[in-house]
């Protein structure tokens, strides 16, 4: 199998802060690799290293077969980067912004003009293509930010939270765009906080926290790690009984685990949960409000692995 990215013990320290602390990765070519993690977990720093913006403090990495340090210029010819921030020139038009990146990659004028118009059309920006980008809405700017990463048909694209702050329509346009690129066997590294996006798009996922990999696998593998079965979620009216309810419920053999969310909300992981709600009711003997049963989601996995504490 050919790998787009291989890293070994990749580290990045900023003084005492270990932003990335020994990451080992093997990302096959043609994969869409989702990277999840709380704020400050080290996702963006990892991307910035792999896209040659930052030097690693230690470790080895190859990107598209080229050494990250010694052959950075070869890597830059072949990658596209869509940064988390909106990096567009406000006093250039959308067309000029996109052309500039194509020009930096040395694409001939005829080719980049045709491709720019095609991409602007698909991102629904063509009718405003000659307006200064400072006049665009937030969604338009973000779509333009994405276009500037793909104009030169890179072999590998880094998307750092490409849909942050987008409305559902714009988000779907960007998702379709990413899927289309993936179908052409391009490799994508996608960081996101949107679990639906990660679940829907990723071939494989990586969860990072405190600069280290804490889980990786396909979305279904990760969900299985949390346990087979369903999540039963309900509220109780008396918060003092919360711990007792969890204790009682977990004595049942089909309940794998139980946990509280806030004062009144309880989550139970149950095999065949929908059919056995009445059994739970018999045991816990409290009124269950706002009861729902659903499958494990990636968000459950994420919270389970990274906890609820807010990060800086």
């Amino acid at each position: 199998m050919e790998y787009a990215i291989e890293t070994s013990n990749l580290k990045k320290y900023f003084g005492d802060i270990h932003a990335v602390d020994g990451i080992d990765l093997k990302i096959p070519k043609g994969y869409l690799y989702g990277v999840l993690g709380p704020n400050g977990a080290g996702k963006t720093t990892t991307i910035r290293m792999l896209s040659t913006i930052l030097y690693p403090t230690d470790g080895e990495a190859t990107v598209l077969g080229f050494n990250l340090i010694k052959e950075a210029s070869e890597i830059r010819k072949r990658i596209g980067v869509c940064p988390q921030e909106l990096v567009i020139y406000p006093r250039l038009t959308a067309r000029e912004n996109v052309h500039l990146i194509a020009q930096m990659h040395g694409i001939i004028k005829k080719d980049y003009k045709e491709r720019t118009d095609d991409l602007l059309g698909r991102m629904n920006l063509l009718d405003r293509a000659d307006s200064l980008s400072k006049t665009y809405s937030g969604g338009m700017k973000r779509r333009l930010n994405v276009l500037m990463a793909v104009i030169h048909e890179p072999e590998l694209i880094f998307f750092d939270e490409p849909t942050a702050g987008l409305d559902p329509q714009s988000r779907r346009v960007v998702w379709d765009f990413i899927k289309e690129f993936q179908e052409k066997e391009g490799t994508i590294i996608l960081t996101t906080h949107n679990m639906e996006e990660a679940d829907d798009l990723s071939d494989e996922l990586l969860i990072i926290d405190y600069g280290k990999i804490i889980a990786k696998g396909t979305p279904s593998e990760l969900k299985r790690k949390l346990g087979e079965g369903d999540i039963i979620e309900f509220k109780i009216s008396n918060p003092e009984k919360r711990d007792e309810v969890i204790e009682l419920a977990t004595t049942l053999d089909f309940i794998r685990w139980g946990k509280s969310v806030g004062k009144r909300r309880i989550l139970l992981n149950a095999l065949d949960g929908l059919r056995r709600i009445s059994d739970i009711m018999d045991v816990v003997k409290v009124e269950m409000k706002d009861l729902s049963v659903r499958e494990n989601t990636l968000e459950d996995v994420f919270i389970d692995l990274t906890g609820r504490r807010l990060r800086n």
């Binding site: 040659t52 913006i53 930052l54 921030e85 990096v87 020139y89 000029e96 500039l100 500037m148």
Partner: protein, 246 residues
């Protein structure tokens, strides 16, 4: 996956970046006002408020005011690039950091040259007269040399400043002392060794005396050149260090 797009063997990245910078500058109204409005305002003020004699004597200094404003526009340009994250986005493409830096300097030089020509025309139209033996080349070249020194000051400032708005404001802490101590608005420079002082002296010799002598003009130009080279080298070192890949 390989790209279907055709690529040129020798992409002119520097030129494309210069064009981008020029478009950005021209479309920024505040930039245009400072670059042209500020020096032209002083030319018209001295001409019509103080009369033709004062205007003619102060003319040399007034022609130096414009190029010094480049400190502000250059510092704002690079600070904006840093603020936007544009330098980081560009260095993920095949363009080198040196090319990005050079493009910023070249575009300011082009703007500086156009500014000098416009100011000279406005000054002439406002009634400024020149000695019959005035060397036309030096009339352009001395302010242009000051544009070079402004690049150095602007780059040094841009190295330490993070936002374009603060760069534009703080630049005036350099511009105003250079203008007032350098004698652009007063009869004689208050400090002799500043690049503006040297330029005013050289310009007066060229404009009012028609001189091209080494003592009155050449020596001053050598010292201004040293200011320019020193400033640009220091500016490049500091700027490269502050925007380095770490």
């Amino acid at each position: 996956m390989s790209s279907q797009l055709n690529k040129t063997q020798k992409p002119n990245r520097l030129w494309h970046l210069v064009v981008k910078n020029l478009k950005s500058m021209i479309r920024d109204k505040a930039n245009v006002v400072w670059l042209l409005g500020y020096p032209i305002l002083f030319i018209l003020l001295f001409r019509f408020a103080y009369g033709i004699e004062v205007f003619e004597f102060m003319g040399a200094g007034l022609l130096i005011t414009g190029p010094v404003v480049i400190i502000s526009t250059l510092a704002s340009h690079f600070a904006e690039e840093k603020e936007l994250g544009a330098i980081q986005r560009l260095i993920t493409t095949p363009v080198s950091r040196h090319t990005i830096l050079l493009s910023g300097l070249f575009s300011q030089l082009i703007v500086g040259a156009i500014q000098i020509v416009i100011i000279l025309i406005v000054a002439a139209l406002a009634g400024m007269t020149f000695h019959p033996n005035t060397n036309i080349f030096l009339l352009f070249f001395i302010p242009f040399l000051i544009t070079f020194t402004s690049l150095g000051f602007g780059l040094i400032l841009a190295s330490f400043i993070k936002t374009s708005s603060s760069a534009g404001g703080l630049a005036w802490f350099i511009i105003l002392p250079l203008q007032f101590l350098g004698g652009t608005f007063v009869q004689e420079p208050l400090v002799d060794f500043l690049p503006t002082s040297l330029a005013v002296k050289a310009m007066r010799s060229v404009m009012n005396l028609g001189s091209v002598s080494f003592d009155l003009v050449g020596l001053n130009l050598i010292f201004i050149t040293l200011w320019a080279i020193g400033g640009i080298i220091l500016g490049i070192i500091l700027f490269q260090r502050k925007t380095a890949i770490l």
